[in-house]
Symmetry: C2
Subunit: 266 residues, 2 copies
């Protein structure tokens, strides 16, 4: 029994969609006995699943399945991004590809509830004057738009670049003129979605992203690497990771019914 095999088996048993919907895993001792391995071995397997966010352990209580949000999938991405140098130009090119589509589809498919969420996110954005809250509601707006497109694959694609995008926003929103130009664009996108106007939403998103583009000078080709992470550390302290901040922001702006069944309530 290799770690791979045991991991594979656990995913099959407890994390596949047709697995019993129970949110609780057997105890470490039980699992170790079942697979004929020692507890430390089982713990290493579980630690791996935990680090990837698939399960959550609570001392004294047990190990629980975590319903994965598509937007949570950026988790493992950071290291890969760090090893390749990603520049703002590359990110904007990718966002342009993806977000014109999500905006358009959101206009076609968004439920009333999602539109309400989008609206209140914009209100929060307009009311926020500090950098991080502003960026939080910004990333939440774009993420909700991706969710409103009702395609988990597109949603995940956006999720996978969300921490990078958040970094970009921290950079853009520091600039006051950009904010003055960009805020109305959010409203314009929102209005088009509300009016069920896909082409209008696409067009408004294009304008919005071009405004963001124009913020950059020479640094549009400078690697985006750790700038954002350092900003976060400086403002929020060292115990927060970029991914956590983004993930928190996304969850905060989702209404419970959009969130679906999140097993934080074990």
């Amino acid at each position: 029994m290799t770690q791979r095999e045991m991991t594979e088996s656990l995913i099959q048993r407890f994390l596949s969609p047709d697995a019993p919907g129970l949110a609780k895993l057997p105890s470490e001792r039980t699992l170790a006995a079942e697979y004929g391995v020692s507890r430390p071995f089982a713990r290493e397997v579980l630690a791996g699943l935990g680090q990837q966010g698939f399960i959550k352990t609570v001392p004294g209580r047990g190990t629980f399945i975590r319903k994965m949000e598509m937007s949570d999938s950026a988790r493992g991405m950071r290291v890969a991004y760090g090893q390749h140098a990603v520049t703002p130009r590359m990110l904007m090119e990718a966002r342009l590809t993806l977000e014109l589509q999500t905006a358009s589809l959101a206009a076609e498919r968004a439920t009333r509830e999602m539109i309400t969420s989008l609206g209140s996110t914009l209100d929060t954005f307009d009311a926020a004057f500090e950098l991080v809250p502003r960026a939080r509601s910004d990333i939440a707006f774009h993420s909700l738009l991706a969710k409103a497109a009702q395609n988990p694959v597109l949603e995940m694609m956006f999720g996978s670049i969300s921490s990078l995008t958040f970094g970009l926003m921290l950079r853009s929103l520091g600039d006051e003129t950009t904010r003055a130009l960009g805020a109305p664009m959010h409203r314009k996108i929102f209005a088009a979605v509300e009016a069920r106007d896909p082409e209008g939403a696409r067009e408004a998103m294009a304008q919005h992203l071009h405004v963001a583009d124009s913020t950059f000078g020479a640094d549009i080709d400078e690697p985006l690497n750790l700038v954002a992470a350092e900003t976060i550390k400086r403002i929020l302290g060292p115990s927060y990771s970029l991914e956590e901040v983004v993930s928190d922001a996304l969850h905060e702006f989702q209404t419970p019914s959009i969130q679906g069944f999140i097993h934080e309530d074990y």
Copy 2:
């Protein structure tokens, strides 16, 4: 010292882009001593990093950094995909968004070397008659196209859906008429890339994907979940995971210089 903190610290020290380029980590015992924790504790942290593919341990030798390929990032995605039901229709919609762009950009930016790789991948595809080899070269072609677009973010986005796409290909390529219709489309895309014709490449890709679309009947709205995984298990045996097959395929069709510096040679 929590596991989070230690993980975070190790990533900063050894996996960030500006970290010393050494490929080898200190020994488990040394790390445990440095962080003032026990070896089992350190091992759990390392096991997590290993499961995510960031490091690779070799008995008797040590622990080594693994250069992450963008296309490797699909790793943690499967569970999230499994919990949300992804249908072929959703996947095709996302691919249409992404791959028209990568095809177009590849036509603009692909190096001669990449074009050569793309060509030889197509030769392999045409020569392959069994299902899995056929699908392998198919996914490799599309993945190389994404790489040829010279944008790591787009490359990663494609990587994140590559295992789903591979599943789709296993399904499509089982149909003989689809293959007959689809194969010439590959050549057409390739010709447009070679001719530096972005619009032609975009157009050819659109036709290609629509052919794939037309393969589906009612099952276009059936969850894509485990069909592919079961096909793989049936053909290649139970010790292979979908992700491994895809990852192997992608690496096989890349020329060394495109691969860049992969530290499999510790």
